[in-house]
Symmetry: C2
Subunit: 397 residues, 2 copies
């Protein structure tokens, strides 16, 4: 039997904190601080403009992209880093529509992250054509995939409930009807095994500040199936996606490679932080990670249902249909979460009534799970969450 | 008479380096390293997800935007930070076209930075309409502004030659014919006085890693004239531009303020680096900066023309028509620049034959200018640039 993937010593996490929010913002990997310091003082400070060449800043988006590719079952040169996830959704979606010019329906579901839906709405309004965004319930997605659909755009793991779409099956059905798939892996990358090559999916996008621990505002990624790259005319035709950016030609001519999905100057400090954060993953077996994640989630569900019966599980009970988070509904969930946070158990809250708990086996173990439930049970029994200081609403991403 | 703005002690610049490339990447302000360290170790490391609220990460794009606004003559809440300059060009241009729906011509000039032209081309292709991008020579811009033009999109200072467009006059003419103005201030912000409010210009965009010293890949800015903000339907309709991002509504509803031009999660490390870098500007008088800049440029031109007659000035001779850089053409300019760099004088090269020298009076003075010309003269006299090690081409941004 393989070892657990637990390696908390590679992170700087405060003592006495049980951090169940790595699905929102991963903690600080120990290697990051020294790396970013070096980039500031030794690279930017001493090399200045020469850093772009001598320190390979210009190659970071593809170098780091190749590292992310390994974690999502993608081949080298099929993933590029940059911008934010919302921008990457726009790039993928506009490219996908080009590949299916005779259809007008973008299919998504109500479990998608709102920004993905918003970006689709913004693109449709910009195209000023007869495109429409069709949003169905997650359980109705498969049936809604028909030959009117141009693009199926889904987030694999529901940000509120943790419900997991079957990426392979849905992609197959998508292709059977002649549609293009765009997968958002925000809550998949670093959370569970993904094999983009095997799935044959067309486009995938994701962020790196959640399970990949790249830091607040870390760059996003975009994957394109290698045979599609040359067919895309980038909507966001930035100079670093040009075939010869430093020739400063008057006309846009996209790079032959995945580089054509680069846009502007890469954020070198954030790219370097992410690059250092990815060191943690070098020896992680994704199957083992998934097994550890399921064990933690199962233990949490079992304990909470047993000891906190007021809370209602809103995540799928079947582990195979769930990502690496568990959500419980409770009408006063916001106040309960504030009381948890005050006691060192960090999860988060999603309106109207969902408490989310992310399980990240790199730095969370069974002892943490039991300790977290002990505190939750105490909060529920004492009803301490009714105290006024826990009622004040503030935004948490 | 006011003091010079020279304050090199606020920067970490290597000894014996004469850095004439702050128009490409500004040097490291001393305050940045400690600030970013603190954000990593104390904020991300200790606050984790709570950093978004407790450390005001979420407010950074507007907080830093207000600081940039002061430097370009804009009112508070008219500038927002994020993404890259290319993305901001796309946002401004797509918004500008909406404001002028009956016209189909985007006017620009051949002195514009290629990425601005590329982004326009990408937008036009995406719109799949009968828009056209009309590119004229810089000196023909004013005459080409007529009532067929929807948007006049220009970079104020030519990245190769330093030629300075008259922002106020061109904006006036633009408005006289009923067109919308989009100004790229990449080589203006922190280089010369700009008064966006007085000019009444409609949109402005820029980067912060040049004269503002925000670091490699620092976030870009976008300005919108306050009365236009509510009229824009953002093409890039990201969740952080939503009126209530944390309500997670299914439909996009833009924020009432300039926040509607936010897109995705802000890059907190880069925003923090930029915020610290802006401290340098707190007491800088922009008129004095301009005077110092002109004095440095004039001295450089006079000395080079006198001592290096093989080089041809390609920047305007009249200081009023020039930004804060000076360019000379020489057929072997690439090799000469490499020889300069090897001797500690850092400028850069733009194809086919232009050597660029940026003058940044915050950390460059007359002694530096004379020393740089001494080295340039020696290189020209000895023809050391003919040595093979200076002929190898490599990309420099």
């Amino acid at each position: 039997m393989a070892d657990s993937v637990y390696r908390k010593h590679l992170f700087d996490i405060p003592d006495n904190l049980i951090y169940l929010d790595g699905n929102s913002l991963g903690p600080l990997p120990t290697a990051v601080t020294a790396r970013v310091d070096n980039v500031m003082s030794e690279q930017w400070g001493k090399k200045l403009i020469k850093g772009w060449n001598e320190c390979q800043w210009m190659q970071q988006p593809s170098h780091v992209g190749d590292r992310v590719a390994k974690l999502i079952g993608a081949t080298p040169s099929s993933v590029i880093m940059g911008d934010t996830l919302s921008i990457k959704v726009f790039q993928a979606l506009s490219a996908a529509l080009q590949l299916n010019p005779d259809r007008r329906v973008i299919l998504s579901d109500s479990g998608n992250f709102p920004s993905d839906l918003y970006m689709a709405q913004g693109l449709i309004d910009t195209l000023n054509s007869d495109y429409s965004l069709k949003v169905v319930a997650p359980e109705d997605v498969v049936d809604a995939i028909d030959d009117t659909v141009a693009v199926v755009m889904l987030t694999q793991v529901d940000y509120r409930t943790g419900r997991l779409h079957d990426l392979n099956t849905i992609t197959q059905k998508t292709h059977q009807v002649g549609a293009i798939s765009v997968w958002d892996l925000a809550h998949s990358a670093g959370a569970l095994p993904v094999n983009l090559t095997q799935s044959q999916c067309d486009f995938a996008v994701g962020c790196t500040y959640k399970y990949l621990n790249g830091g607040p505002g870390a760059p996003a990624f975009i994957y394109t199936r290698p045979d599609l790259i040359s067919l895309i005319a980038p909507a966001l035709a930035g100079w670093l996606g040009h075939d010869a950016p430093f020739a400063f030609e008057p006309n846009y001519r996209p790079a032959a490679s995945i580089d054509r999905l680069r846009v502007g100057t890469p954020p070198v400090l954030q790219m370097s932080a992410l690059d250092a954060a990815l060191d943690v993953w070098d020896t992680v077996d994704m199957q083992q990670l998934r097994m550890d994640s399921i064990n933690l989630c199962e233990l949490f569900i079992e304990q909470v249902e047993h000891r906190c019966p007021e809370l209602t599980l809103v995540s799928p009970r079947n582990a195979a249909q769930r990502g690496s988070q568990v959500s419980f509904a409770f009408e006063q969930g916001y106040a309960v979460m504030q009381a948890l946070i005050a006691r060192g158990v960090i999860g988060d809250f999603r309106a109207p009534n969902i408490m989310r708990f992310g399980f990240t086996p790199l730095y969370i173990n069974k002892v943490d799970v039991v300790a977290a439930v002990n505190i939750l049970e105490e909060i529920m029994l004492t009803q301490v969450w009714k105290e006024p200081q826990y009622q004040v609403v503030s935004a948490v991403t």
